[in-house]
Structures are given as structure tokens and as C-alpha cells.
């Protein structure tokens, strides 16, 4: 959608406005995007808050023209997730949020020089490869603006000298990639988790600013590689809407089917990895056995197993393979049968039940405040499915349920995913026989230039709301292309979910949260 009504606020007005919105029921902060609008525009932030009852969105922005020490007020006390989003903006743009309790870098090393996402920063010149071990401070700085306008600092403690801190990751089998948790333990009990991110921060958003639009597509697959279809779908849709390209019905339906296949793929992998983490290696292999069927469908039609590279601006790279429908139709009953096996082998198992029921619960309020979309939010009873709330592609033409559960503990998060596999199968079943005829790709200009403006498009990716925020100045490269990570809120919520549980539960909770690290770090 085109955002032509972003409300511009002075930094001083921001907090009052935000508090007002929060009171009006805008309780989900879906985006907090750092921006660099150059010398005149200054360094600023774009906020998007959503009302979880009406699904109405409000977009706001604010900026400070001081490039030396830009200070904006924090909203981290209003929404929990703002804490980590503001650290991201600080890390990339050097924007200081007054009143934020923990102004540390989050993605880059603490000894990193400069703020790489600023348009005038030259990160590579100032930052040669440092092979020394990374310094990790045990305390942090809070900046406050006093009544007279001066900025004061104060030290906050992250870990005290008495904390028994264990580093889990970045190289650890159950962090699903290179995530690093610093965990303060009391015996086996977790007292505090401090995530250290950025071990797979690949600077995708910065790269995008130098890429042409077709080139930016190539990177979306590699963000959340288990939602490659959906991420790329989101970006394509965003660009298509901005350029007012109508894609054919055929493309819409094929994209929907593939998105759902991708979701099943991701949820099977979720199941497998959770089993692996909890020591049931055999179930892990059963999951992978079934996943290979989807990968075959992908590979035959799209040419890739994991990095699929299929959606493109205006349609698809190639038409679906003649075998596509046959294979998909074979897969549906096969998968339904095997889901029963999963339940028999793992879900019903008393050990698993005891290890997951009541473990790491997130309440609905917490899930919303942390912006934990996707299965994690729905397990807590938050109806956040983008497919229902803001329908796109062919989702308004199919009949499906939004699976919701109540307690938001690990078991519910697990069950949500397995139930969603069945829902996705239903969606595919409704569509696969009725793929309409039509072009598989619309004609586009050889050089794609998006008209000036700001655009946002969200899709329901495998693990939540994946959003593409695009600001264009009418060039062939985007001025700013930001992705709303689905995993970052999940990691942010880890401390809340894990506190008071045991170190073995960290594995269960992390597994059921289902985050993918390259998507967190981007």
C-alpha cells in the first residue's frame, strides 16, 4: 500500500502522540524504522502502530537534524519491542533515544566505528577486519534529556559481578544459527537473558540501497530462508503496487499455493528441529523425509530447493511445471497421513508433554507488546494473521481458519504449527485444481523505476508478519528498503518467556519460538 499520509511530528510532540495512540488501542508497534533523510531531512524514525482490534494502522515519523548527536524520545516504555528496535536504530543511524535504559549496539561489534546505514558513512574504511575477541560490556548507558535540554548519561548494569553468566552461542547447536545469548544462571535456573545479535548481520538493507530493484529481490530469499517464497512475494508485491502493475489471477493463485507450501516446509522443519533439540533425533529425520517432497515440488518448478528464486516483479520467473499440480495433489494426502505419525511419535509423548506444557508462556498482552506475530502470537490468542487482517494474493478467495490457542506456552506454540500445516493443506487443496489461465508474467520495463513515494506491504510469512517498507525517490534503486523481521520480536521476548525456567527449557522455548537468525540480523 502507498503511504501518503505519514504524520510528521516534532520530536517533542512524539511521546504525547504515542501515548494517545496507545490509549486508543493501537497496542501493536509493528515497525520502528530508522531513516536518514540527508542534511535537511535529518535522521529520524518512522513508526507504524496498529490497532489489534480494528487492524487500523497509523504511520508517524519524526526526525532530528542534528547529525552529531541526534536525540529522539524513546517509546520503549510503551511497547516492549521498541527497546530492541530503538537499539537497532541507534546501531545503524546513531540516533540516541532519550530515556532508553540500554543504549548499546545490538548488531555490530561494540568497538565498531560509525553508523553504517547513514548515507554519508563509509563503514568499510573505518572498520577493518578485527580478529580480536569481541569486547562485551557488562554495563550500559542510558541517555536522558534534562529540562534545560542538556543530555546526561547514566550507567545501568546488565550483568553484575555475582552473576554466573553462561554464553549460549554463537556456536551452539540449539540456537538455530549464530545467535548468542548471555544467560545468567542460578544453578539450572535462568535469571536473565541478554541476546547479542549480529553474527549474521549481512547488511542487506544497506546493500539494497545500491542495488537495482530486480537485484534486491535476490537477497530476500536469503533473509528467512524458510520463508523465501513469502519474503520475495512481499517485495514483489510492494514494487508491483508502487508501479501499479496488475498481476494476473494465475500468478496470484500460484503465488498463494507456493506460499502455503513454503509454510508447510517451514513448519515441518520447525517440528524437526524442535525434536532434534529435545533429543528425539528420529522424529527429526521423519520431518526431513517429508520435507523433501516439498523441495522436489519447488525444485521442479522453480529450479531451487531452498533458495527458490521464483517470484519476480510482475509475476513469476517461469510458468509452473506441467507436473506441478500432480505432485501437489499427491503430496496433500501423504502429508495428512504423516502428521498423524508426528502426533503419535512426538506430540502425545509424555516426556514431551511434560517438557512443553506450561513452559515459557507468553500472555496475549506480552505477545502484542513484543510484536510476536505468527504462530507465537496466535498461540497466546492474538489473532494476527495478515492473510485474514489484510488479505492479499488469493487469500480472500479461499476458505481457511485462523488457528488460535489460549495459553501461549511452548506446547501451544508447537500445536499451532502442526495445525497450520493442515490449514495450509486445505488452502492448497482449494486452489490447486483451479489455477486460472493467464500470463505468468506481466510486461515490465527493462529498467524498473519505482515512482517517488513510500510504500509498505506485509505478508504472513512462515513465522509472522513480514513487512517490506520501501521509500523511493524515483531512482532505479530504492532510497530505503527496510524489512520487518519476523524473528527479532521473538528473540526480544526470550527473556520474558524464559525467566525462571531451567536451562533445558531455554532450548524448548527457543525451539518453539521458531526464529531464523539471518532474518533477525538481516
Amino acid at each position: 500500500m502507498t503511504l501518503d499520509n505519514i504524520k510528521t511530528l516534532e520530536p517533542s510532540q512524539l511521546r504525547a502522540e504515542m501515548q494517545g495512540l496507545k490509549a486508543k488501542g493501537f497496542d501493536y508497534l509493528s515497525n520502528l524504522i530508522g531513516m536518514d533523510w540527508g542534511e535537511e531531512g535529518g535522521l529520524g524514525v518512522v513508526y507504524c502502530v496498529e490497532n489489534t482490534a480494528t487492524h487500523e494502522q497509523a504511520w508517524l515519523k519524526t526526525a532530528s537534524t542534528d547529525r552529531e548527536q541526534p536525540v529522539l524520545p524513546t517509546v520503549s516504555d510503551l511497547w516492549d519491542i521498541a527497546n530492541i528496535y530503538e537499539r537497532e536504530a541507534y546501531d545503524f543511524y546513531g540516533i540516541i533515544f532519550a530515556g532508553h535504559p540500554d543504549m548499546r549496539r545490538i548488531f555490530l561489534r561494540e568497538d565498531w566505528v560509525g553508523y553504517p546505514m547513514r548515507k554519508d558513512d563509509k563503514p568499510e574504511e573505518q572498520n577493518p577486519l578485527r580478529m580480536t575477541n569481541e569486547p562485551l560490556a557488562d554495563d550500559t548507558t542510558q541517555y536522558d534529556v534534562q529540562a534545560d535540554g542538556t543530555v546526561t548519561t547514566k550507567k545501568n548494569v546488565v550483568f553484575g559481578p555475582d552473576d554466573y553468566v553462561v554464553n549460549i552461542g554463537p556456536q551452539h547447536p540449539s540456537t538455530h544459527g549464530v545467535l548468542h545469548f548471555r544467560v545468567a544462571l542460578d544453578g539450572e535456573i535462568i535469571r536473565k537473558i541478554d541476546p547479542v545479535l549480529g553474527y549474521i548481520h549481512r547488511g542487506v538493507e544497506k546493500l539494497n540501497e545500491s542495488y537495482t530493484y530486480p537485484q534486491t529481490l535476490a537477497l530476500t530469499d536469503r533473509l528467512d530462508y524458510l520463508a523465501a517464497m513469502q519474503s520475495r512475494h512481499a517485495l514483489c508485491m510492494c514494487i508491483e503496487k508502487a508501479m501499479e502493475i496488475e498481476v494476473s489471477e494465475r500468478v496470484q493463485v500460484v503465488r498463494t499455493i507456493l506460499d502455503e507450501l513454503q509454510r508447510i516446509d517451514s513448519h515441518i522443519l520447525f517440528f524437526s528441529c524442535l525434536c532434534q533439540d529435545m533429543g528425539a533425533t528420529t522424529a527429526f529425520l521423519y520431518g526431513f523425509r517429508d520435507r523433501e517432497k516439498i523441495l522436489d515440488i519447488f525444485e521442479e518448478t522453480c529450479g531451487g530447493r531452498l533458495i527458490i528464486n521464483y517470484n519476480t516483479i510482475g509475476g513469476l520467473m517461469a510458468d509452473i511445471h506441467p507436473n506441478f499440480q500432480k505432485r501437489v495433489k499427491e503430496f496433500i494426502p501423504y502429508m495428512r497421513k504423516n502428521i498423524k505419525e508426528y502426533h503419535a511419535l512426538f506430540t502425545g509423548n509424555v516426556i514431551f508433554q511434560n517438557r512443553s506444557k506450561g513452559i515459557g508462556p507468553l500472555t496475549k498482552e506480552q505477545a502484542i507488546s513484543f510484536g510476536c506475530t505468527g504462530g507465537t502470537g496466535r498461540a497466546a490468542g492474538w489473532a494476527n494473521d495478515v492473510r485474514k487482517n489484510h488479505p492479499y494474493a488469493a487469500y480472500d478467495k479461499v476458505d481457511f481458519n485462523q488457528v488460535l490457542r489460549e495459553s501461549g506456552d511452548s506446547f501451544d506454540r508447537y500445536m499451532i504449527r502442526l495445525d497450520e500445516i493442515l490449514e495450509s493443506l486445505n488452502i492448497i487443496e482449494q486452489l490447486v485444481d483451479n489455477i486460472p489461465e493467464g500470463n505468468y508474467k506481466e510486461k515490465t520495463k527493462p529498467i524498473i523505476k519505482v515512482p517517488e513515494g513510500t510504500y509498505y506491504q506485509a505478508v504472513e510469512s512462515s513465522r509472522g508478519e513480514f513487512g517490506v517498507f520501501l521509500e523511493s525517490k524515483g531512482d532505479k534503486s530504492p532510497y530505503r528498503l527496510h524489512y520487518r523481521s519476523t524473528g527479532l520480536p521473538l528473540v526480544a521476548a526470550m527473556h520474558t518467556a524464559c525467566k525462571g525456567f531451567k536451562i533445558a527449557d531455554l532450548v524448548t522455548i527457543g525451539g518453539t519460538m521458531d526464529y531464523i537468525v539471518p532474518d533477525i540480523d538481516r
Partner: protein
């Protein structure tokens, strides 16, 4: 916890464990799905659309279709392709661009297919060969045009093959337009034309 709970929990727990054991035992006797790769090399066939590595097909006269326009190089997001060209005088006195070396870094390629979509001639394509591991990084930089090869003469050349698709592919329509739109930028992409051999 009441006594009742204790025992019913115990028995339902044991039952769930037995169900699990049953599932694994059933799998123990089902056919294994493993594909034995090096043993099945002869039967192993990749899907047609699988992207193994980039190749430039040559016909039996050692001719390829690349005219050296450099569009692929420009389309490539991370510089895996380097096209070196030279200017030759044709018989009718015009200058004509001709390909000298088409270098492709397999170790860098991300298989996004942008080069293939960009190519107006259909000169490059992905093959399904997947056995590419080497000991030396330098070996991954491949020269795609065979030594001594030359471009197919326009009159003889058939229409560039469009990918197997039924509706008139946009790629084809896009191709001439792209060609027309590009000439200026093409030059800056490969400024150094090697001296004629």
C-alpha cells in the same frame, strides 16, 4: 496431586511411550528412502530447471551467441560475471563489438538468473551439473566461451531460444528494448577494452 492423578498419569504416560515405540518399530521395517548418490550417478537426473552452474552453449562449429553487450554483467548483483570485449572492423567498415573472454565466478554466483533474463541473445543458460567442488579457489573462475570460438553469424542464427513457456514471454519482448536503452551504460561497465590480439 491426588493419588488418582498419580496413577492415571503414570498409565497414560506409559501408553504414550508405547505408541511412540510402535511408530519407530514400524519404520524399522519399512523401505528406506535413501538415495545413494555416488552409486546412483548414472541414473541420477536433475530437474531441468535446476541451476547448477552457468554455461554458454556452443554449436558444433564452436560458435556461441554472445555478442558481448555486457548486459549480464550489469545485471549481476555481485559481480560474478566479467565480460571482456574488443572492437573489430567488419567488412562493411562498421565497428563491431566482439567477445574476447567471458569470465564467470562460480564461487560467487548466487543463481538468481538475472543474467539470463537480461541476455538479449539467449547466449547463456544454467546447466544441471552439480559436481563442482574443487581444491583451488581459482578453479572456480571459469571462462565460458571456448578458446577459438566466435559468435554465430546473425543470418544463420536461429531466433534466440525463449525459455519453454507458453504465453509470449515478456523476456523476449523486453530484449530489444533493453538493447536500445543500454548503449551508454554498457561502455562504462567495461571501460577497458583489451588491445586487439
Amino acid at each position: 496431586m491426588s493419588n488418582n492423578n498419580y496413577f492415571s498419569g503414570l498409565f497414560s504416560g506409559i501408553k504414550s511411550l508405547l505408541v511412540g515405540l510402535g511408530v519407530t518399530m514400524k519404520e524399522f521395517f519399512t523401505r528406506k528412502i535413501t538415495e545413494q548418490y555416488p552409486e546412483n550417478r548414472k541414473e541420477l537426473k536433475m530437474f531441468d530447471r535446476f541451476r547448477g552452474r552457468l554455461v554458454m552453449p556452443h554449436n558444433e562449429n564452436n560458435e556461441h551467441k554472445c555478442i558481448g553487450c555486457g548486459l549480464c554483467q550489469m545485471a549481476c548483483p555481485n559481480g560474478s560475471i566479467t565480460v571482456t570485449t574488443e572492437m573489430l572492423d567488419t567488412d562493411d567498415g562498421k565497428k563491431k563489438r566482439s567477445l574476447v573472454k567471458y569470465e564467470y565466478d562460480l564461487g560467487c554466483c548466487m543463481f538468481c538468473e538475472l543474467c539470463i533474463t537480461a541476455c538479449p541473445q539467449g547466449a547463456i543458460e544454467f546447466c544441471t551439473d552439480f559436481e563442482n567442488a574443487v581444491f583451488d579457489r581459482a578453479k572456480l573462475v571459469q571462462q565460458l566461451n571456448k578458446p577459438g570460438s566466435k559468435v554465430v553469424e546473425k543470418k544463420v542464427a536461429p531466433k534466440p531460444e525463449a525459455p519453454a513457456a507458453k504465453p509470449a514471454p515478456a523476456a523476449k519482448a523486453e530484449a530489444p528494448a533493453a538493447k536500445a536503452a543500454e548503449p551508454v551504460e554498457k561502455k562504462e561497465s567495461n571501460p577497458e577494452t583489451p588491445t586487439t590480439v
